[in-house]
């Protein structure tokens, strides 16, 4: 990357202004300031320049210029990401896709929508509703996050056990390669010949290309959806109940769990009528035809009682259903009210280790002197521990990060992974060395080089440089040993 003379901010801006409205080639610090971070605001960096193109041709020209001068490019959607994937590179360009905000076409019969990448996730379902259709993946940030970002992160949401992730719900993307080629990956069909590049692109965190158009599948809106809420006096019992539902052959549309801390915080915030004395709460949504929902809800209620639920309540109206979900969907801000700051983790685990992982986490919570609340996509094993801290207390964020890192190591130990849906970005890059060995990481680097030989797309994110990994691993190892010894003495 250091072989070419560096292009200056002024030179680059001039090149871009030749074909982009000069107001949207931003070089002053004040206007660039909002771009210094994404939803993961603990990680900040000012870019060299921010550019907001409005056509794919402009993106192509930007990429050709950046590739020629080996200038890093960080693509950005709505900036709601939670792993600092859109954090700028200080010698690079932030390429915002905010102006690509049009729904180009909805085909009700084919059940597809053609979208620009800056279209908000929720806007797709809102527009498709007139045809009785909706877009499946519904991340918590769906009111703000964009489909382009969803592709970059392979976003999920609360309904993915049944309806899948972004990778299962897109048909094609148009993208501009690092070298400025405009290509379509995928088609109107369900598969294409050759390697599955569409899967590879999904979740690639802006390291393989810049998506300029997305074609998504739409689903028929279920006739009915109902939620059963069940309280339990232990996490273990709630975990068993999740397994119980699935063994009965019922695949809930959504299956969420909250621990005692999260229940109280969410109920204070949303007045959702949660059983405040419960140690664990399950929200089990069943959707489908009227007959099917009726049949499955009855089974679920009976099963939860049989497995020791201390309270069971089923939504009897759309309002009640919305209220029960409101608590869960506002769990993050609700926890935000009981602490100055919180840090949201995103590990996944095989469900059978849930009780073990929560117990270990409680021990770590004591060890680090930091509280933790848990919300859990129980259906698909995606855990979101929220570590509560105060950024104004010196050293507290560093302790929080260390605690978070230990949680992720624990997820890997039980056969899970370090990130279910938030991505690696900058934030979890160290833990990549725990989940993968050097040969695997090198293969990832080689995959990137196939798309981006000069390494200009989002450099420094997603996959760690191998020279740092050994250091990370030995550090983790030492720390682990140290803590084990401590525990033995404690």
């Amino acid at each position: 990357m250091n072989t070419k003379p560096k292009v200056s901010q002024a030179e680059l801006a001039e090149k871009f202004r030749a074909f982009i409205d000069p107001d949207f080639v931003i070089t002053d610090d004040e206007t660039m300031k909002p771009y210094e971070c994404d939803g993961m605001s603990m990680y900040c960096e000012m870019p060299m320049l921010v550019v907001l193109p409005e056509t794919a041709q402009q993106v192509q020209r930007i990429m050709r210029i950046c590739n020629e001068h080996e200038v890093p490019v960080v693509a950005r959607g709505a900036g709601t990401g939670l792993s600092a994937g859109a954090m700028p590179h200080k010698e690079g360009v932030v390429l915002s896709l905010a102006k690509f905000n049009r729904i180009l076409d909805i085909d009700p019969l084919a059940r597809t929508a053609r979208l620009q990448p800056g279209v908000r996730n929720l806007a797709i379902s809102e527009e498709a509703a007139q045809f009785g259709l909706y877009y499946g993946p519904d991340p918590s940030s769906q009111i703000a996050c964009t489909i382009g970002g969803n592709v970059a992160e392979n976003s999920g949401g609360v309904h993915c056990l049944k309806y899948g992730l972004t990778v299962h719900n897109i048909l094609s993307v148009e993208m501009i390669t690092a070298e400025g080629e405009r290509v379509t990956i995928g088609s109107d069909a369900l598969d294409v010949c050759g390697m599955d590049l569409l899967a590879l692109m999904t979740g690639s965190e802006g390291l393989l290309g810049i998506v300029t158009e997305v074609k998504v599948k739409l689903l028929p809106k279920p006739e009915v959806a109902q939620v059963v809420m069940a309280g339990f006096d232990s996490v273990q019992k709630a975990g068993d109940a999740v397994g119980g539902i699935i063994s009965r052959g019922i695949i809930p549309g959504g299956l969420e769990m909250m621990d005692g801390h999260a229940i109280i915080a969410a109920d204070d915030f949303a007045q959702a009528g949660y059983p405040r004395e419960a140690k664990a709460l399950l929200l089990c949504e069943v959707d489908g035809t009227e007959e099917e929902v009726h049949e499955h809800i009855a089974q679920a209620e009976a099963l939860f009682r049989e497995l020791g639920a201390t309270s069971v309540k089923t939504s009897q109206s759309e309002e009640e259903r919305a209220l029960l979900w409101k608590g869960r969907k506002s769990a993050f801000p609700a926890v935000g009210r009981i602490s100055p700051d919180y840090y949201c983790m995103d590990g996944t685990i095989p469900r059978r280790y849930l009780a073990h992982v929560l117990l270990e986490m409680e021990k770590m919570s004591e060890e680090f002197g930091l509280r933790v609340a848990n919300v859990f996509h129980a259906g698909d094993g995606n855990l979101h521990p929220l570590i509560l801290f105060d950024a104004n207390v010196a050293g507290e964020f560093e302790r929080t990060e260390a605690f978070g890192g230990r949680i992720l190591n624990l997820c890997v130990e039980v056969g899970g992974c370090i990130t279910g849906e938030h991505g690696v970005g900058v934030e979890k890059i160290r833990q990549m060395a725990v989940q993968f060995n050097d040969e695997e990481l090198q293969q990832f680097h080689d995959v990137k080089a196939a798309f981006d030989p000069a390494g200009i797309l989002n450099p420094g994110k997603g996959v760690p440089a191998l020279r740092f990994c050994q250091e990370y691993r030995s550090l983790e190892h030492k720390q682990h040993k140290h803590n084990t010894v401590d525990a033995a003495h404690g």
């Binding site: 009700p108 392979n154 390669t177 010949c193 590049l197 028929p220 685990i349 259906g379 293969q443």
Partner: protein, 354 residues
């Protein structure tokens, strides 16, 4: 039930040293697919690399070695009331899980239940350097690193030898029922898509010989209520029809005429080609029998929003897969090189240039 990965690794390293190529073979039931295999190459036999490594019904996840026959996996799942929802075709008793992923083969439920690629959670793979790599995992959600597991779907072993696969499994539907009625090809595309647009438990929509078949599956009450509302006769032994379709044992697939697979937009007007057609996947997968020039079919497929491949028969020394545009060809070439720098695996099997 054996783990022969060490032996496989040694064979790859040996091949690398002496500059030998290797054709990857599992159960040997898909030899007819892709371009003709390189006859000078050796064979890397995955057929003995078998066994279910882990299966937790409650997790809805199964991990098996790539050479495990589909039949064994499906029998194990059936004991727990579960199944492979993507309904993999079997072209013989030996059809394996690894081959199914490499060829990205899924059955009639695919538009609703997803494909084999959709269900894959993680893999182990021996690359051309003999490195035994692990990607993805055994959990439903995992966005750490690139999705090199699903990348294998359709790559036909050109990136390496898949040795182990973890995938999502699902409960077997409580009941299923098939509705059949007469319909002309001209009307069926619109009809199948309209039905697929309704929020009903549909899991199959196919047309052959002037008849349209719709399958409903799921909770009994939902299936029965839908069948009452929709037109068509309830078919006796309907499951047999779908099984024949899944395993390509339906008489449409018999004989030596070249078999073309059009993977196109579900609502696209059917390509103007005389000869027998079978429509599956509610219009997204269309089979055609007949002698034809691939270039001509490619333009028809593109007009229908998709691609064509010569699935079986015909001239297999020429290209059999829809051509790749220049930029994607270059990316796939580089990807191949990144996994298999010496070009050991399945030379020319997917494309002549790969």
């Amino acid at each position: 039930m054996a783990d022969i990965s060490q032996k496989l690794k040694e064979q790859i390293l040996q091949a690398q040293q002496v500059g030998q190529k290797l054709n990857i073979e599992g159960g040997g039931t898909k030899a007819f697919m892709g371009r003709a295999a390189d006859t000078d190459a050796g064979t890397l036999k995955l057929g003995e690399h078998t066994g279910i490594v882990e299966y937790h019904p409650v997790e809805l996840v199964l991990t098996a070695r790539a050479g495990t026959p589909l039949a064994d996996i499906e029998a194990t799942l059936a004991e727990e009331g579960q199944c492979l929802h993507f309904e993999p075709p079997r072209f013989g008793e030996g059809s394996t899980l690894g081959g199914t992923l490499a060829c990205n083969l899924s059955g009639p439920a695919r538009p609703w239940s997803g494909s084999v690629r959709d269900q894959v959670l993680g893999i182990r793979l021996l690359n051309g350097k003999g490195e035994h790599l692990r990607f993805g995992g055994q959990v439903m959600k995992n966005v750490a690193g690139y999705d090199t597991s699903r990348l294998q779907a359709g790559a036909m072993g050109t990136l390496g030898a898949i040795t182990e696969i973890s995938l999502k499994v699902m409960p077997k539907p409580a009941t299923s029922l098939t509705l059949v009625q007469d319909m002309a090809l001209d009307d069926v595309i619109q009809y199948m898509n309209s039905r697929a647009k309704e929020p009903k438990p549909i899991t199959g929509a196919a047309w052959v010989d002037g008849k349209v078949y719709l399958r409903l599956a799921g909770a009994r009450s939902a299936v029965e209520a839908t069948a009452e509302k929709w037109s068509g006769e309830v078919m006796e032994q309907g499951d047999d029809f779908w099984r024949q379709l899944q395993h390509m044992q339906h008489e449409f697939f018999a004989g030596d005429q070249p078999l073309w697979r059009f993977s196109v937009g579900s609502t696209a007007t059917n390509p103007d080609l005389d000869g027998p057609w079978l429509i599956d996947w509610a219009g997204s997968q269309r089979w055609y029998r007949g002698e034809a020039d691939i270039t001509r079919l490619e333009s028809l497929a593109q007009r229908a929003g998709g691609q064509v491949s010569l699935f079986r028969g015909g001239d297999r020394t020429d290209e059999v897969m829809h051509h790749q545009p220049r930029a994607l060809k270059e990316i796939q070439r580089r990807l191949k090189h990144s996994f298999d720098p010496d070009g050991i695996f399945n030379p020319g099997r997917l494309y002549s240039w790969l």
